[in-house]
Subunit: 239 residues, 6 copies
Amino acid sequence: MSPRKLLVVGAHSADFVWRSGGTIGVTVENGGSATVLSLSYGERGESGDLWRGKPEQTVENVKRIRHEMAEEAASHVGADFRCLDLGDYPLLITDEAMNELVRIILEEKPDVILTHTAVDPFNPDHPVAYTMVQRARLLASGAGVSSAFQSITPPDWYSFEPHQPELSEFYPNTFIDITPVMDKKIKAMNVMSAQSYLVNYYTELASRRGNHARRISGKKEIKFAEAHQRLMPWVVNEL
Amino acid sequence: MSPRKLLVVGAHSADFVWRSGGTIGVTVENGGSATVLSLSYGERGESGDLWRGKPEQTVENVKRIRHEMAEEAASHVGADFRCLDLGDYPLLITDEAMNELVRIILEEKPDVILTHTAVDPFNPDHPVAYTMVQRARLLASGAGVSSAFQSITPPDWYSFEPHQPELSEFYPNTFIDITPVMDKKIKAMNVMSAQSYLVNYYTELASRRGNHARRISGKKEIKFAEAHQRLMPWVVNEL
Amino acid sequence: MSPRKLLVVGAHSADFVWRSGGTIGVTVENGGSATVLSLSYGERGESGDLWRGKPEQTVENVKRIRHEMAEEAASHVGADFRCLDLGDYPLLITDEAMNELVRIILEEKPDVILTHTAVDPFNPDHPVAYTMVQRARLLASGAGVSSAFQSITPPDWYSFEPHQPELSEFYPNTFIDITPVMDKKIKAMNVMSAQSYLVNYYTELASRRGNHARRISGKKEIKFAEAHQRLMPWVVNEL
Amino acid sequence: MSPRKLLVVGAHSADFVWRSGGTIGVTVENGGSATVLSLSYGERGESGDLWRGKPEQTVENVKRIRHEMAEEAASHVGADFRCLDLGDYPLLITDEAMNELVRIILEEKPDVILTHTAVDPFNPDHPVAYTMVQRARLLASGAGVSSAFQSITPPDWYSFEPHQPELSEFYPNTFIDITPVMDKKIKAMNVMSAQSYLVNYYTELASRRGNHARRISGKKEIKFAEAHQRLMPWVVNEL
Amino acid sequence: MSPRKLLVVGAHSADFVWRSGGTIGVTVENGGSATVLSLSYGERGESGDLWRGKPEQTVENVKRIRHEMAEEAASHVGADFRCLDLGDYPLLITDEAMNELVRIILEEKPDVILTHTAVDPFNPDHPVAYTMVQRARLLASGAGVSSAFQSITPPDWYSFEPHQPELSEFYPNTFIDITPVMDKKIKAMNVMSAQSYLVNYYTELASRRGNHARRISGKKEIKFAEAHQRLMPWVVNEL
Amino acid sequence: MSPRKLLVVGAHSADFVWRSGGTIGVTVENGGSATVLSLSYGERGESGDLWRGKPEQTVENVKRIRHEMAEEAASHVGADFRCLDLGDYPLLITDEAMNELVRIILEEKPDVILTHTAVDPFNPDHPVAYTMVQRARLLASGAGVSSAFQSITPPDWYSFEPHQPELSEFYPNTFIDITPVMDKKIKAMNVMSAQSYLVNYYTELASRRGNHARRISGKKEIKFAEAHQRLMPWVVNEL
């Protein structure tokens, strides 16, 4: 495959690191590029550490810190970071936000989009992000028939792994070997100091998914992997 | 990918042509190889034309004719043909047949196995073939832990398309472009004269699946495709 | 529709009454005919009342009593009763029993077959009966292509309602109005004195399913109904 | 059955032809009547041919042409055509549109409603149409208990076949024989010249579904069929 | 378990009685407490009896009567009753209503929430109530990470039984013995005179679910039960 | 609950440790008792370390070593160990083995049975064990009606966690806190030296499942958990 252009859409500014940091790293390592698009900063739902014991804290400052952290983490795996700043808990769909997302997809022309799962019983914003991406991808790529507006080749798209996969109807049908970039993912995760215990959690998960990928494929060189769910069929030239 | 070794396991000697003739052709075209293993000759359930109006017909003769036809059809797409001659309608699982199938998989060491779906409300033998392959593949490749017997790398495996896909719980998650070998598949199908109306049926299906594959991928060069269901996750180095 | 020929296959000799007595009655009332084929007498699993406190009781006598009761109950709704006497708890599939069942289906040429559900977490014999019928129906009707053996038009087939429908993966997609024959079903149920509390249970169920059928269809005249799950698509001339 | 009144609700003005033209034709042939209600003209997503190379083209003109074509196609199968002109790509649900749809259903009192599937990974507007119909049908027919507003007998309702059935969670549980009106459906399809290659595609599909219907039912006279998914149980007087 | 605090959220003011009256009664009997929160009075969809033949009837009066009835019924099983009066047929989600529901959950801090099923093909308002509760529960309890807002321990939550369980994707994974309070549930049901035939219907259902619970558990003392679907896993100290 | 009697049925002699060692430990700690019943020694599929480089090794010796190891591991968590020695890879169902299993269940009268999942795409023996237990449990507890043979109260039953849960259709609906006995589970796992790398793997899994259980329940004291799938509804006195 020629170098791939990846678009990762997260509900909150830290989601991409835990769930697809390795996939981004591998894409860039292979000569591709990646953009992280965050729909919100997660300034309400995931930033308690920045507020606790700081009565002078402001929303603007929390967003600024979250932006800098996400930018730095993204840089460790070679991605650009943008944020639509739509607000979290709850993240809400508006016509304006939809149009903006369609516009970005048309502009980026990604080969692959990664986002949340359609179901997540632990987070109200993740399925909203999924729904927005699902609709925007279709509006940008058309129905496959001649249309009156600009359209792009339909990008491949995937859900990345949610916190509790079995309860989120997540079926990991694609394992990607992230062994060559695991060190970069760890650096990126370490930036997200507000949720530091998660670094261990997701390092163990990468090891566990690596074990699964080895058992499935027989490829003994895989040490770390990320699991994703491809949401459309594969079209191939060979099995 | 390096040249691939394909093993196609059908319940009856004609199944492989309609459901995977193009996939075989593409594999061989790409430098790989293919073996067709038929569990029976379909001498009872699918050979009415060889019996009707021929009171002198014998089972041995029907099997001989079916063997020659399958061999010739296989040769058009570049495959070898073997038959276990286990009987059809019903095809039954025996310990001996299971051992033989495990032995063949260990010997062939295929990269990919294709067979029927687990469910087929129109055919009693197809799910039996699926079950045999599903068990034999596991017995040949081991549990992924150290075992006391010889084992092989677990082959990828797929169900090919059944007659009525929605009623057979078939989910086409893999479309393979067979445009370059469609002429060969047609030649192979034409050999199966006992079921000649099926040539049109399956040529139209290949065109229809080609249309689907174009819409999914945006690859306008695809004219004909076969649809399969991959039964284990993909393990990849890149999305 | 012209008069219909119904074949009801139960694992035990009383199953048909509770689960399809009304359907049988309606079929016969409309000029059709019905045969009840029981795979066993339920002499172990469902005949405790005939054994308890009767040290002199014998298996032969239990079967004889169960036969007479089933025959009488069947007569109330207008059906013939036959039993293969294959034994229960467990009911086991043998090649011989399979051949017998295929032979009966070929001979009866039913328009419709009713039997148990594929799943029943409360009864080990019910899914075995389902599996036998599912296979025998296919072996009797062929694969839809020219075969070397006699075959019949594929009968419609249905699962009748199990004891706990939601836990048995039962989806009631067909409700049949049994209001005109409810009195006959009650007479048939009353014959099965060994399990008399069930008469109330299944009368209430018929009322409940009648309520459901009214709400679905708007047909206010329905008072009692039986629910079944059709296992193949409808083929119609009009919606 | 007495003559049936059919209401077909499509997201775009051409949907009804490909997906239910035969069903409409059969209904009318049997003495019934049919109304096609299109939620939009598909002026953006499906009308590229009317815009390409025509800088002077206007939305009003495109809608006018689409209206005339739909009206003409509908007339070939005997249906009336109306359009709510709600806009496409995206089609959006508003309270006003919902009220209008409820009002039309109350007025039409259809016996049967046909519309899109709940899921369609190739089209953002089709599931929106499904959702509108699903809600409007309930609001028009009430909860089955005494209500404070006018209500109608709950119409039967079906999803017609989407472009890629297996990927749209479409289960074809109802096949309707359209052999007697296939010539009319072809005439209707030919009107839709902007998407002419689809005529072949859907003629082949009708043949394929005809093959399926024959295999399921044994009715050898069926040459062409349409497949639909009935969304509520059947309530019958006989199996 | 220490005394439990229950919150029952119904779309209409009578829903709680039929579907969870016994569960409320048992909770209170065990020293716990229960609040019924109705999103609307069901003044349009379920109050036909209050309007029929009464040209002078007003919406305000219907709501007043419905409030008094619900309050009285609730008192029979020991619960408080509140109503958000959001309107029915259709019940619509607004940001304001969502905020109010979140506020109530934060204030009540329930151990358990009961509400409708996610799917109900017979009622447009029930799934809306489910969706509101599902989102409000998450917004009130946070994502399990440190947040900037007040949050509560995630309550257990359940769907209570809908009118036609199999058609509503209802899986009864929890049966609660309501034998000790069945008399109170009957009193509460009798208050709802506008829908009096439902008292018999739901008394029979309680008996039927009691039969199911006995068969599952072997507990012969259960005479009446309610079935619910727990929507999150159990976390236990012992199996 | 009064002290519980647990029966753990594994296909191979080491399965119980990884998948239910903590559950056994907790049951015993709470005053209950546990029996581990292994259907085979796993002498072919999981004992490669005992064979490799030991040309003099015998099957009898491998079984003896596996028995001693399992006995020692079981003792660390307080369980008895028995083995039916039915052979592995493949484990096959025979009437004799079924009768023996029924006899043991009748004799043990367990409150709870734990075994494998119905589906396991990585192991041919695990689903066979599931099927045997599923049938034997029903044959031992009867159909809930009066039977001619001895029967016991239907035990609760669960599938324990398979190697790759999402691919095995495993839905973890029950998390059990094993924090108090995690040290004992580690000791038991350490006995299984032939598969030592698994100790880390399953310690991490217990930590991960502990994290999940905390998020679900809000119980911050949980550090380690095992996940199981309860296969029948809960019957409770309180939610």
